[in-house]
Symmetry: C2
Subunit: 413 residues, 2 copies
């Protein structure tokens, strides 16, 4: 089964946002044997939208549109599809009631232009939107399936996962199954070097690597017809890659590093506290993204100034005078300081120079110290990171999280 | 002039990366009077790539491809364009020398498959790639321009900015200029209601609205031929919209809310400290993303547990017992607590229930208190937010930032 994903919205063509919806949807489709051959983006223009959807109907079995279902005048996806399929727009009473209820829930007045959000081409199956006012729909028309979803990713994703995926799963034939191995602390070319022989003889499964800040993910994908066979195809290659990459691997389940760390903390019931300088709360924001983390995450201090390092964390003035805020000694005192105040099992601190200003010859931009202390031990790691401010801060966050992972997994730093 | 941007690569269709190249390119084109009407993504498949490029040639003046210029067997953009234009691939000697020099510079051996990277359709103008091995090219063919660029954004962007933009600028005739008005605290449909008459009679300038969590941006775009005229076209409509949306507007320059807040803090030399519970460091992470903010941002406490609220912020046990951690009283004590410890001009606190667990009938998920204190005054805002954990946390962060903006701008909360 071939799908085409059409993202609708002039804001995409003006470059204000990236088309992450197509990325999300086409990342999920192969699991159910549906392949996207094209992504298209078209603006809020009736004529071009119609041409675009017609073109997709000529080359794909399943058309998934995102966007253009809002209440405003430039939201015309419903109208375009209605015209192409020659099915009039009809209002769905239950759908309208849902929209009214939604406005009540968020305590805002519903305006009359929201009424059109309950209108869909005749015969459409409505897909509820628990997180917004724009429902979606599925239309079966001759041998084609047309699916319309709203544009905001936080609305589109749960609708796609909970309704569209199960619906389409019944249609797929040949299937793909992928394993994602996620690593931290090894460069993309070093990683590729380590598995080059496997990559060059790949056929089924296929192997691909892709890199983001500090991390490389290896995707191993098998084509299969029966579920059992998929694992038989995947296992030998996956096992070999895992053997070679060893403890650089933090997840074999495509989890984020912070999720892995939070799961470990909760499983081991290890309480943790944080003292952040250059990351200014980013590590804490990561941990607190995980529901239920309050069981083990006690709290943190974002000590941006020297005064705060002294007042809130008890870093000594002597240390700051002698070694400066970006130093091994200060990192250790910060970690010990927050541990004293929270009595956590482990405490982690970060101090560094994220730039663009503040660097010197001895302490250049990108110099960062990360310290982890337990009730008995003290570790400090010195990092020399490159890139701009946001890259250095993001990479520092990952290094800090990985240090906690390694400690909890009994690995060396 | 109409452009179509074609991103090439199966990794895009598998959802491994988002098509940020199209976003970047189409964000730049309007400055020189070129409009993208479509973005397309196609995989490393010869037949579909050719169909896709032919389709683009039928509806656009300028075709810009990104990707598929690498050294491996699945990189076939050159071959596809050569076939469509019926221009044979020829090797460029200077280009080959550049590729050899690049490998020398990074200390790696050049493999024979890199030779094909110096081959382009006859008559192509080669575009150098200072950051990688894949040069790009520009081909003028009848009344169309075909531009091929490599896929990695760090290679593509400087080539586009330094060579392609100046080249295309000469072709542009009619130009676009946009103003972006960013608002917080007004829903998309309410906003459109407020400006509906302007939207419905729009012609030049055009008006579009688009929403993200808690925020709505209004884009006003003028088509013009001379620079002075653009502002004449924009000003009456922009002024009217600004009058109607009033203090919901936080930027007329397309800035992020946190940037506006940081600029205000620095301009007014107002020091600030934070006490975060449910946002767990997100507000702090936002502020510290701004270079130089250490002049006014003193620090913060991420007090996730009740103990931390008492130990680090001095919230009284009585308050927590009587009113709970998610209460007006606790929010105020948190803000006063961090202010006492930092002596900041203003202090802001956040406490709430981000979910999915932890909600009760009296205190449901989404209930959040934000408090702002100065040396003389105390304010608390009660919020009832909706959505999942990450939406509630993101929206809380925006509410907190907006409260600081309103205080610093002398506006009511």
């Amino acid at each position: 089964m071939v799908a085409e994903i059409i993202a609708i919205g002039t804001e995409l063509l003006m470059g204000q946002i990236a088309n992450t919806n197509a990325q999300y949807i086409s990342g999920r489709l192969p699991d159910i044997g549906v392949y996207a051959y094209y992504h298209t983006v078209v603006g809020d223009n009736r004529e071009r939208m119609i041409a675009c959807i017609k073109n997709a109907l000529s080359r794909a079995d399943i058309i998934i549109t995102t966007g253009g279902l809002g209440p405003t005048q430039d939201d015309i996806t419903r109208e375009a599809v209605s015209e192409i399929l020659e099915k009039p727009l009809v209002s769905d009473a239950r759908c309208l009631a849902d929209i009214e209820a939604f406005f009540k829930r968020i305590g805002r007045e519903m305006t009359s232009n929201n009424i059109k959000q309950a209108m869909f081409p005749e015969g459409a199956v409505i897909v509820k939107n628990p997180n917004g006012t724009a429902p979606g729909c599925i239309i079966e028309h001759r041998d084609k399936t047309i699916i319309m979803l709203p544009g905001p990713p936080n609305e589109m994703k749960p609708m796609f996962d909970n309704f569209i995926m199960p619906y389409l799963a019944k249609k797929g034939d040949l299937k793909l199954k992928s394993v994602y191995i996620r690593t931290f602390g090894i460069g993309e070319s070093a990683l590729e070097d380590a598995i080059e022989d496997l990559v060059s003889k790949q056929k089924n499964p296929t192997i691909a690597t892709y890199a983001s800040v500090g991390q490389v993910t290896v995707r191993i994908t098998a084509r299969y017809s029966e579920e059992e066979k998929a694992d038989d195809i995947l296992k030998p290659v996956t096992d070999e890659i895992m053997k070679r990459l060893g403890d650089k691997i933090y997840s074999e389940e495509n989890k984020e590093l912070y999720e892995v760390v939070c799961e470990l903390l909760l499983k081991k019931k290890t309480t943790v506290s944080l003292a952040e300088s250059c990351t200014g709360g980013m590590i804490s924001a990561c941990l607190t993204d995980y529901p239920g983390i309050s069981e083990v995450y006690l709290g943190g201090v974002n000590a941006y100034s020297n005064e705060m390092k002294m007042n809130l964390l008890g870093v000594s003035e002597k240390t700051l005078d002698r070694y400066g805020a970006v130093s091994e000694a200060c990192a250790v005192e910060m970690a010990k300081g927050i541990q004293n105040r929270t009595n956590s099992d482990i405490a982690l601190s970060v101090t560094g120079i994220a730039g663009p200003g503040g660097g010197t010859k001895d302490k250049p931009v990108g110099l960062v110290y990360v310290s982890l202390v337990t009730k008995c031990d003290v570790w400090v790691k010195r990092l020399n990171l490159w890139g701009d401010r946001s890259r250095i801060r993001a990479n520092t966050t990952l290094h800090a999280l990985d240090m906690i992972r390694r400690y909890l997994s009994g690995l060396e730093f």
